[in-house]
Subunit: 401 residues, 2 copies
């Protein structure tokens, strides 16, 4: 069987299409740039990237591999390897037939889709009818049937003036908005399931993540930091064209202070307030816009609506984004499977040995602040200075405004 | 065909099951209470609600209607009308056969599921084999086949000591955590798609919503307020056993002040800061824990990560929860369809005529604060006082801690 002569990848984007002309132009330019970074990084060939008709076309000699990579770039809803032919009935029938022969599976229903822009001697309906008939007649061995309302497979022909673009398969993209359409955000990540999902969600909306992991040694198992790095790397691998850093902050000394000065039942409240303050230091250092956490209402005692208020008041000048705050655990698990972070859940290690058995459900801010007065919080700046920085991705370090 | 003699509803809950014993007890009690409110409100009969074996059993003479209502109560993962029989093989076979006869559809595969606790002369496997054989042999007209790995329909038998609970259908529940396991939260709702989803998400996690709608008259179409009330009512109807209020705050006078004092391109930033301040007033009045908004990163110019920071800084002492901040528009649309708020999107009315054509993407906080100094913000308290309050649901007005 002849392999179809694909020569480009057609990229579809979603939400960008409904933006104002000016915003759309800026965002598609960024999307094209990020796609180029992804292709180059994977050492795949690329001739040219064109933006037209609300689509992006990538000319390449490896369209199938390029489509797989492109589908992983935020902003891409789907993409298809395309074959290009002259806009004549004979040429389109030949190429369309080749595609069906190569991509169609036995025993399934099919349809031909066609759209047309420009002046031609044929209509879209002519293409649908003639290509459909040719496929049905000349591929009897595939035992195909026609189903116009819900076909199991389709050949599409898009005619644009003197050229026709044909495709028969579509790779689903990761969706969202192009990385860099939003600013940098500090994503606090642990070894758990929720914080990577929270980070992924804001990354998907176009933010550039700065990951921060709090290393609780000696109050955590040794494997924790390594696990956190590997998990952050999975997330960072969704970012193309931008630098991604992971700050590993020694958090043990702070936990010692908390252990000594705070009521045991309030340990997690103090710890979380402290982590927010440290995340704020990183936000200042990195010129980020927000702090992102994986908190879910009611998942832990420290995450009651009441305690979220007590925790949040530790940082006032940065918004704390909690994209998972209203998600159920089942939804989190499904997303973790899709994203590729679920596998880490199986390595379940205990990353804090100080969590109390009966944590406070309704901490009083006044008590918490009183305890904090007894703590030496000057330590914070030192910890940020002694943070270890891992570069998970190389690229541009600032969003383009 | 005989209708099976259902006499109870078996209720399954999810996340509650993995809580500590103490928390689980508190939460199942609240769930049982909310279910009772839902059934009573719908004027359905209820004999008794029992909590046992990690399940809730509702004894009622209308199990099928009660199951439909119960499935809408937050915290319920699924529920099934059940028939109860003595734990003898003969009795279970009779009842199980009746269920299959009544519920099974023609031509599909089936299986029998069985679990057993207690001392009996038969095993779970005995039940599966004998009931399976009886159904297959005595219902030839249904043309059934056995499929143990992925059956299309199933009869379940749960034996608990001297009683057996049998069921053959399951109603999917709304999931989440029981209303009142979290505190009250102020949910700002507009006539748009996003804010109702944000409210629903925190409600699903157990929060009691206080809805706030900002009436922009004369800068909005007249239909807006009515639309907002109807939309909030759809949401409120998911709450059982607790009071739900909607504050309608006259926001037109503030918009006049903003229009006169602010740079046009910053209108939405000022408006959102103002709405947060008003929401905070309601939070204080209602003893709420947080403010909830429908903001989505990058969806509008006022929702860039940068602008979210500028907007957020208007309120420091309450967390601003944005459960949709990392969602795509396609995800929002799907949820709106499931929840029942999508229909309002078709009534699309313009609820603010002041939105600028070229809004600021990167507002400077210092400029915003300077403009605000020229505004008379004393007006805020007056507006909250003159708010109209709609009672969308009657019930307990405080969570139980």
């Amino acid at each position: 069987m002849m392999k179809p002569e694909y020569s480009a990848v057609l990229v579809r984007y979603g939400e960008i299409g409904i933006k104002s002309k000016q915003t759309r132009k800026r965002m598609t330019a960024l999307l094209a740039r990020n796609i180029r970074s992804a292709i180059k990084e994977n050492k795949l060939p690329i001739e040219k990237i064109r933006r037209e008709w609300g689509r992006i076309f990538i000319e390449t000699s490896e369209p199938e591999m390029v489509a797989e990579i492109t589908a992983r770039v935020f902003g891409v809803v789907s993409c298809s390897p395309v074959a290009i032919s002259p806009a004549t009935i004979d040429a389109m029938l030949d190429v369309g037939f080749e595609l069906a022969q190569s991509e169609f599976k036995e025993g399934l229903s099919f349809a031909v889709g066609a759209r047309r822009i420009g002046n031609h001697t044929f209509s879209s309906q002519d293409i649908r009818e003639q290509l459909g008939a040719k496929i049905l007649m000349e591929l009897p061995e595939l035992d195909l049937s026609v189903d116009l309302s819900s076909p199991q497979q389709t050949v599409y022909v898009e005619v644009r003036n003197e050229r026709a673009y044909l495709f028969a398969k579509t790779v689903e993209g990761v969706g969202g908005m192009p990385t860099g359409t939003q600013g940098k955000v500090v994503c606090t990540v642990s070894t758990g399931l929720d914080s990577p999902i929270a980070a992924f969600k804001v990354m998907k909306r176009g933010c550039i993540p700065i990951f921060v992991y709090f290393d609780n040694t000696p109050h955590s198992q040794e494997a924790c930091t390594d696990l956190a790095i590997r998990q952050a790397q999975v997330l960072a691998d969704y970012i193309y064209g931008f630098e991604v850093k992971l700050y590993i902050i020694p958090h043990g000394p702070d936990l010692d202070v908390i252990k000594n000065c705070a009521v045991e039942r309030a340990t997690c409240i103090h710890c979380k307030r402290n982590m927010l303050r440290l995340a704020r230091e990183i936000a200042i250092l990195e010129d980020a816009d927000a702090i992102v956490t994986g908190e879910i209402l009611g998942e832990q005692a420290s995450q009651t609506s009441h305690n979220l208020r007590v925790i949040s008041s530790a940082v006032c000048d940065y918004p704390i984004l909690r994209p998972c705050v209203g998600d159920d655990k089942v939804e989190i698990l499904e997303m973790a499977r899709n994203i590729g972070t679920y596998k880490f859940a199986e390595e379940a290690v205990s990353c804090c040995s100080l969590a109390p058995q009966y944590p406070l459900l309704h901490a009083k801010l006044i008590d918490i602040e009183k305890s904090e007065k007894e703590m030496d919080l000057s330590i914070l700046h030192e910890e940020v200075k002694s943070a270890q920085i891992e570069y998970l991705r190389r690229g541009r370090s600032e969003p383009r405004h």
